[in-house]
Amino acid sequence: MKIIALLSAKGGVGKTTTAVNLAALCARAGKATLLIDLDPQGASGHLLRIRPAEGLKAKRFWSGKADIDELIRASDVEGLDVLPAADSLRRAEAVLEDLDHPRRRLVGIVGDLTGWERVVFDCPPGLGLLSENVLRAADLVLVPVAPSPLALRTLAPLAALAGKDAVKLRPFVSMARGDKAVVAELRASWPNTLVAAIPVAEVVEESAVARSSVALHAPRARVAQAYRRLHAEVEVILAGQDAA
């Protein structure tokens, strides 16, 4: 099982869209995939038409006592299951502060999961304990970076928070509009930035309205092709980890 996280300190940079598309592409590629929505807004579940997990309580979830199996739902994409978010997850930071080993709770929770080859985390924005948990638990942390100077500035604090897990961080250009100078700066500062760049596209909004992934809703769109390239690059990195 390989764990891929979509993480960023900034909101509105394409974490959820990427998480849903990447998870759908993993499933389409024949890997049993679980998308875990850690963002209390529940946008991933919404895109896949899955209701929030009403019974999920933050304290039970983060203390490892929640029966996750009971809350997981099959999506309409074959091979893709979803653990939808719950409103109670808003209290994640407060709950984690009260627990022992507050930075390693997620490692134990995902350690109990079996039956999936890929697990994708969709995370809320921020640089708190939840993010630290994600950094510890994931094998690969994808960081969507919108090509703006402000977005670039969020990467350094994230790397600092990650500490020795910073090697897992792989930024990628998201919502690209042709801002070549900013992209060049990103690649210069962060040489491990992925080659795939996700362009901004109306079809992404249309897919959200249709409550589907772009990759499946409009597979011929340029942005869908970009997601396929991103998925291919991710698989190469994961294969490299296995080989190492």
């Binding site: 038409r49 899955i50 739902r73 099959a74 309409d76 299951d81 409550r211």
Partner: protein
């Protein structure tokens, strides 16, 4: 969404494939062998293209393919025929909730053997997290009289239509039953398997039908002889007489079948320059075989044969039993196996280089009886012991069979000589064959004495004694 296709299920007449949990299905242009449980969805074990016409009736006539290779070791009777044809329609539907999210996937299978009848099965796929919705959908559909399939729908349908039971097992399943009851059940089971085989003999599909038919008759007759004390003596005699009569009337055809089946082996025994003469000999054998097959077929479909069958079943239904009917089967079986072994071993010990072929034939018959006892009562002894004794006996029987067949075939050839008096080429072949078979018989003598010596050895006596000898 609807998908419709024509399916034809093929099998051997004794339903070997189906009983082995397999299904050979002709669908579209593909003939494929599937695991029964994965008939509709699973990957085929083996397949071959089959356009237009159905496959040839005899497996041997099929072109080489993975499918043929997969089938050959599975089938005893090598004829393959269509046993069920129907149209299969697969309808799929999706149930969604108010968010337009799929909560259940439903498949309905409409299986129609003819326009006037059909079966409808429904499967509702398990979707993780939507168990409640799945159950609700299934309950609603089943409530409307549709079946909810837990197995492959086509396989369920075929099972219902074909009414194929489990393979008939030879031997006694339970040693604790009273011997009379157990023997009657065993004989009824044997009789139950005969009509299908008789049909194959009458239709002359494959020589293996007759062979299996005769094996079952011999086993049944031998068991009646071994356990005759469980029946009143007159009834035991009558049962044996009927079974013996059925076996006897098929002797000629089986002998001729053996000749025809082993034609290439016999050709190899004859010098090349004489081989053209084989044609006349085998033409005559084929002609004789066709004549005796017609006779046998007529007999098997006759009212006299039907009456005998009914009489036999009625005899097995009678309840007034013989003196040993109430004994536990194991006890009687041990006693009889021990006795049969003693006779076989004593006879075997008397065989030497000067023993006549008729005396060797008697030993062969005795060994067959012992083998039937071991096969029938195999479950009453430890598997290792049983296997060891069976293997030893099987090895002796193989040499005895070859030796005895060579003698009988020499006699059969010599008796043919008269009818080929004006045909020197065939006479030369007869002479060459008799010579070769006789040399073959003589070469087996040492091997035969060795095997019989092993059967009659103190070690074998000791094993049989410890396993089968009873106190009285």
């Amino acid at each position: 969404m609807v998908e419709a296709s024509a399916w034809t299920l093929h099998d051997t007449p004794d339903h070997r494939l189906w009983q082995a949990d397999l299904a050979l299905v002709h669908r579209g242009h593909i003939l494929a062998l599937h695991r029964r449980s994965q008939l509709s969805f699973g990957k085929a074990e083996a397949s071959q293209a089959c356009r237009g016409a159905p496959p040839p009736r005899l497996l041997a006539q099929w072109p080489s393919s993975d499918l043929k290779t997969a089938l050959l070791p599975l089938v005893r009777i090598r004829a393959i025929r269509a046993v069920l044809a129907c149209t299969v329609e697969r309808h799929t539907a999706i149930l969604r909730d108010d968010l337009d999210k799929t909560v259940a996937r439903v498949e309905a299978w409409l299986v129609q053997p003819d326009p006037a009848s059909c079966r409808l099965w429904v499967t509702v796929e398990d979707l993780r997290g939507y168990e409640r919705e799945r159950v609700a959908a299934a309950v609603a559909l089943v409530g409307r009289g549709w079946y909810e399939a837990e197995d492959d729908p086509f396989a369920l349908f075929a099972t219902e239509i074909l009414d194929i039971g489990q393979p008939v097992e030879s031997g006694f399943p339970d040693g604790h039953k009273p011997a009379g009851q157990a023997l009657r059940a065993c004989l009824r089971q044997a009789l139950q398997s005969l009509p299908d085989l008789e049909k194959g003999v009458v239709d002359d599909i494959d020589t293996e039908f007759l062979h299996q038919y005769r094996v079952i008759l011999r086993r049944a007759r031998s068991l009646v002889a071994q356990f005759r004390s469980v029946f009143p003596s007159k009834r035991a005699e009558r049962i044996r007489a009927i079974l013996g009569g059925w076996a006897r009337c098929s002797n000629s055809q089986r002998d001729l079948d053996v000749w025809l089946l082993a034609r290439s082996e016999h050709e190899a025994l004859v010098p090349e320059q004489l081989r053209p003469g084989m044609e006349g000999l085998f033409r005559a054998i084929a002609r004789d075989r066709a004549a005796v097959q017609r006779e046998l077929a007529a007999r098997l479909v006759s009212s006299a044969h039907r009456s005998e069958r009914e009489e036999l079943l009625a005899l097995l239904d009678l309840q007034d039993d013989g003196p040993d009917a109430a004994l536990p089967l194991t006890e009687l079986a041990r006693r009889r196996t021990w006795k049969t072994f003693r006779r076989a071993a004593n006879q075997a010990s008397l065989v030497n280089a000067a023993t006549s072929s008729d005396a060797v034939h008697d030993v062969r018959i005795r060994c067959k009886k012992l083998r039937y006892m071991l096969d029938a009562c195999g479950r009453f002894t430890a598997p290792d012991d049983h296997q060891k004794l069976r293997n030893q006996l099987k090895a002796v029987q193989a040499v005895l069979g070859e030796f005895n067949d060579a003698c009988l075939q020499c006699r059969a050839l010599l008796s043919r000589a008269e009818s080929h008096r004006g045909d020197p080429a065939t006479l030369l072949v007869l002479g060459a064959l008799v010579g070769a078979l006789d040399r073959n018989r003589a070469s087996l003598h040492d091997q035969l004495l060795l095997g019989l010596g092993d059967l009659a050895s103190p070690g074998t006596w000791s094993t049989y004694r410890s396993l089968f000898r009873t106190k009285d």
